[in-house]
Symmetry: C2
Subunit: 377 residues, 2 copies
C-alpha cells in the first residue's frame, strides 16, 4: 500500500512518500473486530504464515503460531503482517530510490524507531478500516512494537501480546548491537552505505554481525547440548584457522546465508530501533508512568533461558502494568532454547497463547465504544 501523505519521523526527518508491504490471513468480520496485527522482529517480514506458490514448505516466519487451527487461528482472526519501514523485504527502505536524489537512499535513509513503525502501521490500519485490533502481537523487537501500540494508540488495542521482549535494551544488548554495526560500517564494501552503486555488498561485515547476533539468540545450555565441542567431520584438531568445531560451521553457515539475503543498511537501522526503544525515557525512567495511559489487556511471556531479553525484563513490564491496575497474564516458560524460543514449537508456550487467543475470540463482537480512525500519534 502506497502512502502519499508525508510521515514525520521521531528523529525529525520526513518520508515524503512510502510503501508498506503487507499480507493478510483469514477474513475480517462484519464489525471489523477480529483483526490481529503481528509485528515482526529483526530479520523477518510481512510473510508471517503459510507458503507462496513454488514454496516447498511453509516459509512464514511464525507459521507454527499463525494459521487455520493454530494458536492464532486464522479461521477466527483476520491476521495482518506488515513489513516495517527501512526493511529489505518490500516496504520502503535504504535500497529504494530516494525521490530527492534519484539514487538509492543508502545511508541517507532516515533512522526509524519502533514508534515510527507503529505510526506507519496505524495508517495502514486506517486504510484497512480497522479502528481497533483484537490484538497487537509480537516477539522480541515485535513485542516492543506491540507495547508501543498500547501506549501510543491505547483505544485501538484490545489485547497486547508481548513475547520475549523488554522495555529497553541493556548496556550489554547495546554493546552487542554496536559490535554488529562496527563490523558492517568498517567493511570496505560498505562504501558509507552507498554500496548499491558500487555493485558490491558488505558481506563480511554482515556475516560477522549475524554471527555475533546469533550467539545471543541461543542459550548457553542449548548450544552445549546441540554442539558442545563436537568436531566437524574430523577426529582431531586441524591446527589451522579453518573449521574445527561444529559450532563454527553452524555459525559461519548462518552468517553466510544471512549475508546473501539481508541488507546491511537495514541491519544498521534495525539495531538502532532496538537501541532507542525505551518508552520510560520520556517519563524519567518510570515505566509505570509510561504505561499509565494503556487500556489493553496484556499477555506477556518470557523464556527461562533467554539471556538476550531475560525474564526479568518481562517481569518489569508486568510489574508496571500491575501497578497501573491493568489486567495482565504473565507466562514465564521454562524452555531451553534461549531467545529463539519465541519462534520455536513448544507445547506449553503454544497452548498458553492458544488459550489466551480463545479468550480474545470469546470477546469478539462484544459491544465496543465507537472509535474514530486516524488518531495522530
Amino acid at each position: 500500500m502506497r502512502f502519499a501523505q508525508p510521515l514525520t519521523l521521531q528523529g525529525g526527518a520526513t518520508l515524503a512518500d512510502y510503501t508498506l508491504v503487507y499480507e493478510t490471513y483469514g477474513t475480517l468480520n462484519a464489525d471489523r473486530s477480529n483483526a490481529v496485527l503481528v509485528c515482526h522482529a529483526l530479520n523477518a517480514s510481512h510473510h508471517v504464515a503459510g507458503m507462496y506458490p513454488g514454496d516447498k514448505k511453509p516459509t512464514g516466519w511464525w507459521d507454527n503460531m499463525v494459521g487455520p487451527g493454530k494458536p492464532v487461528d486464522t479461521d477466527r482472526f483476520f491476521v495482518i503482517g506488515v513489513n516495517n519501514l527501512g526493511s529489505c523485504f518490500g516496504s520502503t527502505g535504504p535500497m529504494h530510490f530516494n525521490p530527492a536524489t534519484g539514487k538509492p537512499y543508502g545511508a541517507a535513509f532516515p533512522v526509524v524507531t519502533v514508534e515510527d513503525w507503529v505510526n506507519a502501521q496505524a495508517r495502514l490500519a486506517d486504510q484497512l478500516g480497522i479502528a481497533q485490533f483484537a490484538a497487537v502481537m509480537g516477539g522480541s523487537l515485535g513485542g516492543m512494537q506491540a507495547l508501543a501500540w498500547s501506549i501510543m494508540y491505547p483505544e485501538r488495542v484490545r489485547h497486547c501480546v508481548v513475547i520475549a521482549s523488554t522495555p529497553r535494551l541493556s548496556a550489554q544488548n547495546i554493546a552487542f548491537n554496536d559490535v554488529a554495526r562496527q563490523a558492517i560500517l568498517s567493511d570496505p564494501d560498505y562504501h558509507g552505505g552507498d554500496f548499491y552503486e558500487h555493485g558490491v555488498v558488505p558481506r563480511n561485515g554482515l556475516r560477522v554481525a549475524r554471527m555475533v547476533g546469533h550467539i545471543t539468540y541461543l542459550s548457553n545450555d542449548d548450544m552445549a547440548a546441540k554442539f558442545g565441542r563436537k568436531l566437524r567431520n574430523a577426529d582431531d584438531y586441524k591446527f589451522g584457522f579453518g573449521i574445527d568445531f561444529e559450532i563454527e560451521s553452524y555459525l559461519r553457515y548462518q552468517g553466510d546465508k544471512f549475508s546473501e539475503y539481508f541488507d546491511a543498511n537495514t541491519y544498521l537501522l534495525i539495531t538502532k530501533a532496538l537501541d532507542y526503544f525505551d518508552p520510560a525515557r520520556a517519563f524519567g525512567g518510570d515505566l509505570t508512568a509510561a504505561l499509565a495511559g494503556t487500556q489493553a489487556e496484556f499477555f506477556i511471556a518470557s523464556f527461562s533461558t533467554d539471556w538476550r531479553f531475560a525474564p526479568e525484563c518481562s517481569r518489569e513490564i508486568v510489574q508496571a502494568l500491575v501497578s497501573n491496575r491493568r489486567r495482565v497474564t504473565y507466562a514465564e516458560i521454562d524452555a531451553p532454547h534461549g531467545h529463539d524460543a519465541f519462534l520455536l514449537e513448544d507445547a506449553r508456550y503454544m497452548n498458553m497463547v492458544r488459550a489466551y487467543y480463545e479468550r480474545i475470540a470469546a470477546g469478539i463482537g462484544a459491544a465496543a465504544a465507537p472509535i474514530s480512525l486516524g488518531r495522530a500519534a
Copy 2:
C-alpha cells in the same frame, strides 16, 4: 632466553629455534624452592608487575597481585613471568623472521597450544635451574597453563593456582572466539596473515574482535551499573550511526586501543589455544582421569558473575580433584565484575590468595624428594 634445541609442537610442526622473553621479581633462595611461575592470559605478557624506567604508573598486568608485600609477595617468592610463544610482546611470534623463508612467519607461524607453552616454559625453568615451582599460577588462559603444568609435569608443581579458568571452552566460548577470528580473517588488510609486508594492519578486524571479546569479560550487571543507557555527551539520541551511548564509546575505545598494539596473528593463535585446551579429551572426556597423575595441592577460584568461565567450570575442576583425593582449596568469590574480576582489586579475593601463599611460604625449604631436571612432556 634463546633456545636452539627444536621444539616439536602438539600440531606436529617444529620450531627450530625460538626465544622466550621473561621477567623475574624477587630472589631465588638457596635451595631454589621459592619460585612461582605466573602464566599470562590473552593480551598480557611477561611483564607481570612493577614499572619500567619512564613508566608513570605500574604497568605490570598483575601488579596488584605480585610485588613486595602483595599477595604473591616478592620479598618471599622468586616470581617469573614468561611471554608465550606466538605472542606479540617479545617471545618468538608471527611477526618474527621465519628462518626457513627469511620473511616474517605471518600465518605460517604454527598453531601453538597451552601444552606447547608449558613445554617451552619447562625448558626455561630447566635453564633457570628450577626443578620444582613452589607454585604455578594463572588466571583465565593462564589458569589453563597452570592446570596443564600440574598434569604434564606433576612433580615440578607443589601448588597449582587456577583462577577464573575452565577445563575446556564451551560451544558459546568457541563461538565468540570464532566471531573474533572471522572479523580478522575477513579484513582485507589481513592479507592472509602476511600484512607485515604490505605495511598495513587489519585494524578493523582486530577492533571488532576485541569489542566482542571485551563484552564477555564484563558482567551484565556491572555493565548496567557502569554504563546503563547513559548517553555520551548528549541529552538526546542522535539518530545516526555514530556514538549515542557511553557503552558504545567505551567499547570502541577499547577496540581502537587494542588494534594499535596487538598483533592480529597472535590474536588468532591465542583464540585457538583457548579453543583447543581440553585435557580430558585424551581420556574420553573424563576430567578425573586427566587429573589422576597430578601431585600438586590446588587453589581454585572463580567469580560469581563471570559468565565467560562461570563458577561451574571451576567446580568441575574441584570435583575432579576431590575425586582424585587431591588437596584442593576452592574459593567462589561473590564479585560484580565478571571475568575481569581476576585482574581487579577485591579485598576478599586478594586476602584469599594472600592466605594461600602464606601457607605456600610456610612450606618453602621443607624437604622435597630429589627431582631431575628436563623431564619430557
